[in-house]
Symmetry: C2
Amino acid sequence: MDGQNSITDKQSDILAAALQAFAAQGYRRTSMDDIARHAGMSRPALYLHYRNKEDIFRSLVDQFFAQALRGMGAALATPGQSPEQALAAAFAAKDGTLMELVFTSPHGAELLEAGASLTADIMQRGEAAKIALLTRWLQTLDIPADIGPPEAVARTILTAAMGLKYPGQTLEGYRQGQRHLARLFARAIANHGVEPTA
Amino acid sequence: MDGQNSITDKQSDILAAALQAFAAQGYRRTSMDDIARHAGMSRPALYLHYRNKEDIFRSLVDQFFAQALRGMGAALATPGQSPEQALAAAFAAKDGTLMELVFTSPHGAELLEAGASLTADIMQRGEAAKIALLTRWLQTLDIPADIGPPEAVARTILTAAMGLKYPGQTLEGYRQGQRHLARLFARAIANHGVEPTA
DNA sequence: TTCTGACAAAGTGGGCGCAAAATGTCAGAA
DNA sequence: TTCTGACATTTTGCGCCCACTTTGTCAGAA
């Protein structure tokens, strides 16, 4: 299936070519021929490595999630940083290079749509993995008990972070929002000695 | 324009009828005749009160925002509650009865789309008003300075709350998310005497 | 005034046909 | 093996037409 798949060099070339083509023309308007040309090989050669266009697209999304998860894992595991720094780095890594693509490509919206309908299962597993990652990190932090179990907190934090996509402003605005949110959540999960029991 | 408009009884009837029709059939598939029938009057009579279907829709959205703003204002102004309770109530009121509609109607998604394209200006002003409302509330709370100016905090909080729409689960799940988020943000803006200056 | 039936104009949606593009799969070359 | 040119088949986009619906606005009734 998808998930834990190692990828040959040729496949990697194809994915890079496909990404380029998708970014330039969107998913629907990109043909296998376009991808083949970008990859410097003939169209039938693609079929030696992938079943069809959807298969390529799914592998691409898979790669994005793998990248994002590696990035988040590294961000949260980096020693010697405050929780706020860790969270901010995790937010920054959370989407891999996807948001750059969405903000940059004139077809960002169409690509998101295609992803939603063609890779719903991958995205769902990916989000679940992110929640698991963040949950484990929260567990190492002895967060106060009254904000709920770490898993729920992780879920809420990641869900909230999705809202930042809405305003559709600039990429820089998006990143600023992530940093600010990291600061707020870092305070929320901080364990300040005194209990606020009025 | 829109904004501060008082509404006649007939207009109110029409809006109610339109809401019913839109919820049942979506925006595009609803004709002026449908609305007229729901409202118990002839189609031409509608044109005495509204310019066209878009005008009706915009008034409806206007009403939604007015309702939401009143609700949020009341939630935040209610005396004798903790910041968490105030925030939770404000979140609950934030969308008026819109989310019920979206979750209930089989055409919720289409209505949101229609709203995005037909009432972008109203929504933008509405969101700005919500931010202003929350900003004023934060100003009364002497929140810690290092989480940024109240206006930025308000903006981030409301943006984050939008993320809760994403998972598209149940209405109850959505509300649970709001309550959890209120708890987290309440902690974030709480001013606990000791400064965390390590 | 407040509304309605009737009317002309505009818009919508479906079916059909056709040319161009894209797909997936060969047999056979490199 | 690893790939390509060529092929049959499917899909896509476009224009066109036609029936039907919807719209917005009358003149005139309630």
